[in-house]
Amino acid sequence: MFRWFKNKKKKGEASQKLKSSKDVTSISKNLKTNLQVIYQQIGHSSDVIIRSFQIENSKLEAAVVYIDGLADEQVINDQILKPVLLELRKIGDVRGEKALRDELKRAMTTLSKIKTAQQIESCISHILSGGTVFFVDSSDEALLLSTPGWETRVPSEPTSEPYIRGAREGFVETLTDNIVLLRRRIRDPDFTVDIYKVGRRSKTDIAVAYIRGLANQELVDEVKRRIEQIDIDMIQETGYIEQLIEDNFLSPFPQVLATERPDKVAGNLLEGFVAIIVDNTPFVLIAPATLSMFLQTGEDYYERWMFSSMLRILRILISFIALFLPAIYVALVSFHQNLIPMDLMISIAANREGVPFPSLVEALIMEMTIEILREAGLRLPKPIGQAVGIVGGLVIGEAAVRAGIVSPIMVIVVALTAISSFALPEYAMGIAIRMLRFPMMLVAGALGLYGIMLGYIMINVHLVKLKSFGIDYLAPYVPYRLRNWKDLMIRAPIKKMRQRPQMMKTQDPQRKDS
């Protein structure tokens, strides 16, 4: 049914081979050996701390291993060492391995998470992700204690997607906190999170979240399959994941949606989408993504429907302006002057009198300038950045007109285009459109409106060919899913939206009883 399986099969096999070639060391009964193995692997770093001690009554040697700063030392002292050293003394001799383990666990009940491990490798990865490992002599199992001690950021308003109306909290850099943010919004027993470790060296935690029994199982499996197949040494950001699992890396269009907003992710989960959360980044991916999702915001659902519908139509207009306006200017001024009303035409002609360049060059110069200004404003510290933007924009625009390099109308066109491209709700789509603007200007400079039309057709052809996780990029517009058009160009009243998107082929298509 879905054709996506073909593409990456070979790559998957290769990566599995690599994984299996790694050796596995079991934990030995001898504490010294274990500590030696661990010391060999990670002890060269001075922040690794190995604390050995004796459980007094039984004269058993024991040790905890953790990394300074990554694990919370206070927790280790108060909740691990103190109970073990004090309580076990009270109880007296404990014989038998299992009994000892149970005893130890009981002593550390104040700790939230205790797991056991048989292999040194899992111990090490636990240590490296902020946990503490508890070894006891004569036991071939180690206790993995959860003692996260690193600093986390408090959820704050997402800077990349501010809403006027909507929750003021965004995702943070901690995976668990992010899952909590979602969990708080969806108290559904079917809300499922599967965690993967990706990255040969970074061992980053990646969580795949979806609603079991609602999301299409094939889609979930496909997302999981693609994540399992990732073979890379480190994952820095969701951008890595996005680029590694997207369908077509040659497309300028984003095929996975990244967001900082938990409410948006929660809403999409309930429509049958799958979220991918990566540790150490506040951006969460939503897969699959369609073009219409990049022209919508979560706020559309919070405002009343008429206003939201108007905004959505406006956004379509905005994306056309951002993509075509300079090209249309070039086409009209250099080719199809008959479209311009006469008064306007005369004033454009008078303004362009003395401009030495053809309109195409004029447009390219100004568009480049605005891109440079944008980049400068972004890279500089915030207060300076703003100043550079304003001063640069005003001064350069004014000076260029005065110097007769460009015409005043060109400045208006460029400014309107730039503002439009920033008015698009998704940054990724804004980038795609800003990029495509340049080839559009070139074809307009060569062939006028005919060139623009051919360019438009090319973009459309690319869009109809593009798929994201087997779902048409233009869905639900094409192929027609009239029922979902309620949530496409307009946003129908919430009362009237009874179905989940058909394109997602959800297992529970009804949102509510009519």
Binding site: Q337, M342, M345, V443, H462
Partner: protein, 411 residues
């Protein structure tokens, strides 16, 4: 397989872009400031002695040259002068337009001559008006004359056509007061249809082409220059099939045709009250007309039903009391008679004197009695001059403005 497809796509995109890149600056690219925008064209008979001499020489070679010799004046916009705001502030500035004249046999030839005379590329896509002089209109078939404008895709079909009394070039020379371009000033006159019925309905090139294709006669608005001003009133009568001008219609006669066509959006009718011999003015607000052909055996006749609504615009009667029903009836009757007589005057002039049908009687006959039309269509204009036409006018004076009567009568 799948990936190959994308690469192929990318390759095509590149071919497309490279093609586009190579072609930059070729073929159709002309920057807007390099264009000489032509807004008006006037077509005259050549007057200069030089032209006539040349004409003579050529006519020796080929007789057909004589009748085709044309002088074309084109009005260019000087965009610098139009665009600069400072110049309007008192400084004796450059004119916003310049008129360039040239001579030749065919319009296309003349148009290409302009390229040799102007630093800017002549650009016809914003052409607004064609003014043809009386002489030309009387001697040449307009369908042949305007063929260039209809064929050339640069031209629109909504260029207005007018016929000038006297030299057409003079119309382009009249310096307007408010507008900066004479042609635009002229065009804004045509927008005044809403206030007067004394100008013929504006005629677009497209409509003219339709009428010439039909072979029917029609009117073209007349433009007259008086020294510093231009007036748009009256009409030239163009005889169908021959497409040449056969005479003028005066202002009232034009109004008559407008009444029959039902095209009046607003106008004033002046009449005299029979009892007091004082003036009454009827303000037309709405007007409808219907031409009803009647066929009895071989005999064809027409009834024109005209209905109008409006108000009393002005009355000079001392006793005039619009609150009085009797007065209103008397006024209505006086107005009705005036309108009927205007219409008959105009109709007689076109029907009997010029022997043309400019108000679409033939069309109505065709629509309602196609088989009768088949018999008479060959010589319709001639035939029409013998057909009786009855005009029924119905007037409703519904308003009399803010003040109904005058204080004088109460004294």
């Amino acid at each position: 397989m799948g990936r190959n497809r994308y690469f192929i796509g990318i390759i095509f995109a590149f071919i497309f872009l490279i093609n586009a890149g190579i072609m930059v600056g070729c073929w159709d690219q002309t920057e807007i400031e390099d264009l000489g925008i032509i807004v008006g064209v006037a077509i005259d008979k050549p007057k200069t002695a030089e032209g006539k001499e040349e004409e003579k020489k050529e006519s020796e070679r080929n007789l057909s040259y004589e009748k085709h010799r044309l002088t074309v004046t084109q009005q260019f916009v000087v965009s610098q002068a139009m665009g600069s705001k400072e110049s309007s502030a008192g400084m004796p500035s450059q004119e916003a337009y310049s008129n360039v004249a040239s001579e030749g046999n065919t319009l296309f030839q003349i148009a290409s001559q302009f390229s040799t005379m102007s630093s800017r590329l002549p650009y016809y896509k914003h052409l607004k008006a064609i003014i043809i002089s009386e002489e030309i209109a009387k001697s040449l078939n307009l369908e042949q004359l305007l063929n260039f404008f209809l064929r050339e895709p640069e031209m629109t079909r909504d260029i207005q056509v007018m016929i000038s009394k006297g030299c057409a070039r003079d119309v382009l020379e009249v310096k307007p007061i408010k507008e900066r371009l004479p042609v635009l000033a002229l065009l804004s006159l045509t927008e005044n249809e809403k206030k007067t019925a004394r100008m013929a309905e504006k005629l677009m090139l497209g409509n003219m082409s339709k009428k010439m294709a039909n072979g029917s006669s029609f009117l073209i608005p007349r433009v007259v220059t008086y020294g510093d001003s231009v007036q748009l009133a009256g009409a030239a009568v163009i005889k169908g099939k021959e497409n040449t001008m056969i005479g003028w219609l005066g202002e009232e006669e034009t109004e008559a045709i407008n009444w029959i066509l039902g095209k009046i959006e607003g106008s004033a009718v002046e009449t005299v009250d029979k009892e007091t011999k004082e003036f009454l003015v009827y303000e037309v607000k709405e007007q409808r007309s219907q031409i009803k052909p009647k066929v009895e055996g071989e005999k064809i006749s027409f009834v024109v039903e005209i209905e109008s609504e409006g108000g009393l615009g002005e009355d000079w009667l001392i006793s005039g009391d619009a609150f009085e029903e009797a007065f209103m009836q008397r006024a209505t009757e006086a107005i009705r008679e005036e309108i009927v007589s205007i219409i008959y005057d105009g109709l007689t002039k076109t029907q009997k004197e010029f022997k043309v049908d400019v108000a679409g009687f033939g069309k109505q006959l065709y629509v309602q009695y196609p088989e009768v039309w088949e018999k008479v269509k060959e010589n319709w204009d001639e035939y029409f001059s013998t057909v009786p036409v009855e005009v029924n006018v119905e007037i409703h004076v519904r308003e009399f403005g803010m003040k109904g009567s005058k204080s004088m009568q109460h004294e």
